[in-house]
Subunit: 205 residues, 2 copies
């Protein structure tokens, strides 16, 4: 690309560092900002900068937070004895969107993946064991993505939890709602058969 302005070129370079944003998209975004009021562009820049500098990670569950304890951990109405273990902040948002869970979370910050160089030490596993050692915790629910890394992480962590009087569960897997048996992979279908449930569970109440 031939830029007649270094200011423009630098702005495009900064945008194209973001994941999934190529040079052409970056240029489109920058040209949009050029048409935007300077005060609004400053607002955009300040909001991003401030977010990165001031955001905290919840001391208890490692979720993003504006305070030392996140909104979820700090809400007395949420069951502190229930801990849902997830890979990332995004999974917390996905589960919160269902409005079906009123316990707390524990964000691992990833899953065990030796090929990517991610071992247990890089994840928030130690703090989970500490939380689980607390007398008041009754159940730990694994809600990790159903793949080898997720299963490896469940296996590793549940071994560390084995000596504790805590119930350990994982969210069920099977054919997704609206999915078709015909197109399900064999692994999913086989597990779905193995882990069959009483019909009562499917009758709406």
């Amino acid at each position: 690309m031939n830029f007649s302005s270094t200011l423009l070129e630098n702005a495009v370079a900064e945008f194209s560092r973001l994941p999934g944003i190529g040079k052409k998209t970056a240029l489109r975004l920058v040209l949009h900002l050029l048409k935007t009021e300077p005060a609004q562009v400053d607002m955009f820049a300040e909001t991003i900068s401030k977010m990165r500098r001031e955001i905290q990670f919840c001391q208890q569950c490692h979720n993003v937070s504006d305070h030392a304890l996140c909104n979820i951990c700090a809400t007395p109405a949420r069951r502190q004895d229930l801990i849902c273990v997830v890979e990332s902040i995004r999974d917390v948002m996905a589960i919160e969107a269902t409005q079906q869970y009123n316990g707390t979370y524990h964000v691992l910050g990833g899953v065990i993946s030796p090929l990517d160089g991610i071992g247990p030490d890089q994840l928030n596993i130690e703090t989970l064991i500490q939380r689980a050692s607390n007398n008041n915790v009754s159940e730990i629910i694994f809600a990790l993505n159903p793949n080898i890394q997720g299963d490896t992480s469940i296996y590793f962590i549940q071994k560390k939890l084995a000596h504790l009087p805590v119930k350990v569960t994982a969210i069920s897997r099977g054919i997704a709602f609206g999915g078709e048996l015909e197109y399900a992979d064999e692994m999913t279908l086989a597990r779905s058969l193995q882990n069959r449930l009483p019909v009562e569970n499917f009758v709406r109440q």
Copy 2:
């Protein structure tokens, strides 16, 4: 979306104001920035802010510039008697990328489009007429997108230029290189026939 942090929510809201960026993409970008060094995020924010505050539009051609005159207008080697009229900065970049043009430009900032409420007064037409009135200008080349708005703009502007001793041309239209006659629209094919050129033009030199 359920955000556990207002800082995060605001950053996502700012990103999703950009064209073509939805809430999900905005969240992905913000989570990427969360993993980036704070100093680098500040650099991103500052570059954008600085670009918007300090960028100028060339006094002569209205292209973006770091100075009062853009690099192209300020280069003595470029022919000042040749003015290529384009719709936007992006078109300047596209033509510069061909490395086949060594004149100057004139960025209209849009095209006449009554349906979008864009009339001649909102475009940089007056300054073009002034430039063309200068004795030293020999040719004005229209390089607007081939559509009704582009053609309307050419028609309007060339009428204003009619009294001046300036040659007025427009870039040729026809079947694109690598295109197929079979799939060309009738308008393009008909024009391409009408404006046929001597074969010498197609022999590589």
